[in-house]
């Protein structure tokens, strides 16, 4: 799949933002006043900024409100509802915490649940796609939820929880890569099933429909070199998970190290998310002979 910057930024930052909102909603840390204002500003900047970024790739962003209508079948529509609900409910909680010095615990818990549901619905947009076998697995929601929780804990300054969650998220990340690498081969979709021509013999794509490129090739066929991919995976693991855990477990670490852990995590997760899209093989590539399977 084409690793479009808009979707990479959207999924990374909204995941972080809603993760932070989740922890704030649960009262971890139980902040009020100016500290709360600062933390909520970060959370809303990430969550809203990410959602806005997602509208950049739309052909007609001015019609975006129509995306609220099909919640019965569409995960994208459900995400629209859940994100707005989470932002509104957490907005009430944040207002009370910042300006009234009060924590409305039930509202916070509801907001936390809605934040979790928002990230789940985002992950389901990808996990539901049978056409991308690498994503069509329960590990995809586990991966995105794990990262959102770990990143949220990191931003919320929950150091012990963050270290534990990062370790879990790293394990899920590695599993997602491992399982994903053989997903297309296991899916049973190949050039023979795509063309129905497998019975008489081995099928090979002989000539594409056009000499030039097209929307399908631009959007769905992105081939990442194996060496390139291995390097980026190492970068993602080191900066996204490893280094932040090391920085977090240093006893009595100053704030500066915490900030460094966050920046390192963000850089690593952007690399991971780039790979999430760039390595995802859409089955339509088979018709163009672009997939080995």
């Amino acid at each position: 799949m084409h690793p479009a910057p808009s979707v990479i930024i959207f999924t990374t930052f909204s995941g972080l933002g809603f993760g932070l909102l989740l922890f704030l909603g649960l009262g971890l840390p139980p902040v009020t006043g100016w500290v709360a204002f600062f933390l909520y500003a970060i959370a809303y900047a990430c969550a809203v900024g990410g959602l806005l970024a997602s509208t950049f790739h739309l052909g007609h962003p001015e019609r975006a409100l129509k995306a609220f209508t099909q919640w019965r079948t569409s995960w994208l529509s459900r995400e629209a509802w859940l994100s707005v609900a989470a932002l509104l409910v957490m907005g009430i909680y944040a207002f009370a915490a910042v300006f009234l010095d009060t924590r409305l615990t039930p509202v916070g818990i509801l907001g936390a649940a809605l934040s979790l549901a928002t990230v789940s619905s985002t992950s389901m947009i990808y996990a539901q796609l049978k056409t991308v076998p690498r994503w069509h697995h329960w590990l995809t929601p586990a991966h995105m939820l794990g990262l959102s929780l770990a990143g949220g804990a990191l931003l919320a300054g929950q150091m012990t929880v963050a270290a534990a969650l990062l370790a879990v998220a790293a394990a899920v990340q590695v599993a997602h890569w491992q399982v994903g690498d053989s997903a297309l081969a296991r899916s049973g979709t190949n050039l023979a099933s795509a063309t129905g021509l497998g019975a008489p013999g081995r099928v090979r794509a002989f000539e594409p429909p056009h000499t030039g490129t097209n929307y399908l090739l631009r959007e769905f066929v992105h081939v990442v070199g194996r060496r390139h991919s291995r390097k980026l995976r190492l970068i993602a693991l080191t900066f996204g998970y490893g280094l932040p855990v090391v920085l977090l477990v240093i006893p009595a670490a100053p704030h500066l190290l915490g900030a460094l852990a966050i920046l390192s995590h963000l850089a690593g997760i952007l690399a991971s998310r780039w790979l999430f899209f760039a390595e995802a093989e859409h089955v339509v590539g088979l018709y163009y002979g672009k997939r080995a399977a």
Binding site: H57, L58, A67, Q70
Partner: protein, 259 residues
């Protein structure tokens, strides 16, 4: 709504004969023409006369080579467009309701006025049947020429999809695949019509007829070779003398050197 209809009154679709298709791309061009000049946003091209042309097409013809265990390879031309699936994944993922499947005839359509151009339906389609138009920013797909097949202002012979009307080889057939007695259904039954990517669970309405086993293969021809009159290899008489004489001239090369 993007709920799929539980069942459709008819299942209009195409039957494509891979045995007959000659790969001329006439269906591609007539599709592009009709759907640019008629219903909906036109199918745009970018850099059409430049070095890197690309454009929106609702029908594309691939070519595949089949190499059997024994015998020579076979070339199969493979037109591909929307299969108007019964379980169309492109419809249910649409967040705006722009994508829908008609309950009366099963045609999958896009309401371009409601399309936000998010592209998720194209992600959900395993066949590459949907293309986001680069200029219009809306999703384009085969309409089964809904503006032809019900168009009473056209002569009756033209009330079929443009690709079917155009195909000079008769490789494309249009009809109701939900009616077991229809011509297309009988064709599918007689020729072993197949689904593309059945494991994706989309239940495509369009069917493909596999190429027939070829009878006139090179081996078969070889079996007759001993009975053919031998072609003279050594020339005699005046022509034989002339050939040898020319070979002997300085600068002349023999046949062996030339080959």
């Amino acid at each position: 709504m993007t709920d799929l209809p539980a069942s459709t009154d008819r299942k209009l679709g195409l039957v494509i004969d891979l045995d007959t298709c000659v790969g001329c791309h006439a269906c591609v061009i007539s599709c592009k023409g009709w759907n640019t000049e008629n219903y909906g946003a036109p199918l745009s091209d970018a850099d059409a006369y430049g070095g890197d042309p690309s454009g929106t097409f609702l029908n594309r013809v691939h070519s595949y080579e089949i190499t059997p265990e024994e015998g020579p390879a076979q070339l199969v031309h493979f037109p591909k467009s929307c299969l108007h699936c019964e379980d169309a994944p492109c419809v249910t993922v649409c967040p705006t309701g722009a994508s829908y499947k008609r309950s009366e005839d099963g045609i999958v359509l896009v309401n371009e006025d409601a399309c936000i151009g998010c592209g998720l339906c194209a992600w959900a389609c395993p066949y590459g049947a949907r293309e986001l138009d680069a200029l219009e920013g809306v999703m384009k797909k085969c309409t089964l020429c809904v503006d032809r097949i019900y168009n009473n202002t056209l002569p009756e012979i033209d009330r079929v999809p443009s690709c079917v009307r155009t195909c000079p080889a008769g490789a494309r057939h249009f009809g109701d695949l939900g009616d077991p007695d229809s011509d297309v259904s009988q064709l599918v039954a007689a020729r072993g019509g197949m689904d593309l990517m059945p494991e994706q669970g989309t239940k495509p309405v369009n069917k493909y007829l596999p190429p027939r086993p070829k009878q006139d293969r090179a081996e078969d021809l070889d079996s007759l070779a001993p009975y053919l009159a031998p072609v003279a290899e050594d020339q005699s008489g005046f022509l034989g003398w002339l050939d040898k004489a020319l070979d002997r001239l300085p600068g002349a090369r023999s046949d062996e050197e030339m080959s």
